[in-house]
Amino acid sequence: MKLLDTLSSIRLFYTCASLLLVGCVLGGVIPQNAPPEKYLEMFGHVFGGAVMRFGLADVFRSYWFMGLLAFSALNLLACSIRRWKSVKVRPGVFIAHVAVLFIFAGGIVRGGFSQHGFLPLEAGTSSETFTLNNGRTAPLPFSIHLRDFSIDYWQPELHRLHVQRISDGLHESQDVALDGAVKFNPIGITVKAVKFFPNFIMGDDGPASRDEARENPALELLVNEGGVERRQFVFANFPDFHQTPQNASSRIFYEYVPGRVKQFNSRLAIFENGKEVMEKTIHVNNPMTYKGFRFFQAGFDPKNIRFSSLQVSKDPSVPLIYLGFGLLLVGLAWAFLKRPGRV
């Protein structure tokens, strides 16, 4: 009984809550899970070393923080047992405290039984495993196949050409479509975009693109000036490297305008024993669930837009946590809003 008194004391609550507050502030201010050299660079040798030694580089998974959470839960449990009769007098307060206990319990279930990881898939390929956040590989009880990956845009990427007449500085700008030609009437030239190089390099066989990443965008142009045609490369990142011939009457500058992504979509299929059992197109905020595993659209690889980046999650704590959330809202509303009246 004496132990219960100690554990349920309000003084212990203030101690635990204040220490939790301090722990969260430390974890909120100090960058978490950064490489050791970053802490040495940020805080110097002495304090940077202390950050790593005292678990401040990963506060929320450290033993001392877990211990603090466990102690807070014990305090709350003891309080709820000690004051269970208050359920009749102040039901809202009692329910709110029990709700937080459910959330703590959900946290324990999550820590012990949940799986969170990621799965990069290329269109047309399948996988029966995924990589956990700790780097290990986990099996899936089925096979997941990426049929197709697509990106929708609010506004697609644009290739904008700025042409300037050398003699008087007259300037005109137009967007050019790939394989399309645009006429710059006042200046008197026609420009056709022949090929787009998202990440331009000079390969063994001439100009090429390293990958799909828009890191060094370049255009190969066919320029017709007074009936004379010439080929020319223009580079968005290097406007002065333009290969304009000495006798040309105008200069061309290339501006690459990135597209605004609206949504990215993965068409997924689940196979079990060689048979397709499910197909769904997922996008951000619209996952697919099968046998407790959920697949979320997380992103894509800008270097290879056939790759879809999926997040995988299996978390049995969710019902417990949501129960805690619901009870907490009801309990607090009951506790605070039960007596309407004058302020």
């Binding site: 309000i10 609550f13 203030y14 809550a17 204040s18 939790l20 507050l21 969260c24 502030v25 974890g27 909120g28 978490q32 929320f60 969170h116 609010w154 506004q155 605004r260 992504v261 609206k262 949504q263 990215f264 996008h283 951000v284 905020n285 996952p287 959920r294 979320f296 659209q297 997380a298 997040q311 995988v312 999650s313 978390d315 969710v318 946590i321 949501y322 959330f325 907490l328 809202l329 607090l332 509303a333 605070f336 809003l337 009246g341 004058r342 302020v343």
Partner: protein, 264 residues
Amino acid sequence: MSTFLFSLVFGLFLAAFVVSAVGFFFTMKWRFRPGLAALVLGWAALGVLLGLRWKDSGHLPLSNQYESMLFMLWAMQAVFFYFLYRSLDALEWLSPWVSGLSLVCMGVVSLLNSAMEPLVPALQSNWLLIHVTTTMLGYAAFALAFLGGVILLMKNKLKSVGEKEEALDSLLFRSCALGFWLLTLGIITGAVWANSAWGSYWTWDPKETWALITWIFYAIAIHLRRTRGWRNTRFAGLMIAGFVFVVFTYFGVNYLLSGLHSYA
């Protein structure tokens, strides 16, 4: 139109501040009413401004800090009007203070990027409405508690507070309780949204962590009031300190720490 409305709102809040501050020099019963009327008009104009942005952008005007702060300001005034209505006008002398804080907020908003951008994929969800509105309403209630706290701590210098101290202390607690409930709802809806968008309801993202810090602080403050009897100036001090956490969670995290809420 938006520029005109923004200037109109600013002008009305300025008028509300000046006219209601002048009310302190008079003794008649209705001396704060003209300023309060200007404040209500400014609030209505701000509502129209937000509504127009909603119509023009095609999504809720809560997608960046410019929009969310305008909404928070609108919500703070709505909470004030609610408490004013419930107090049978006993709090109308607070209108110069609310107008002053509104002016400061409008000044800060004018420094933010007002460009309307299409929604990034993560924000294309119905959860945006409930998560951001409840969180901003919570911050708005805490802002009112902060304002009340400042006035209560200055009571020795303000003759007008005097006998209204009890009503002000009650306003502090009601605002705090309302803010706490709304912040709880904001955190919970954010967690449910995160679970449906990323598969994890809690990732210790800096915004989540600082929202939790704010929540723990106000939980301690409420316990101190309920179990240790911290009222009036002591509770006012807590409300001022708590608002420091609110401001850091809302502003500081975005500029000083990177995370999933970098667009917020």
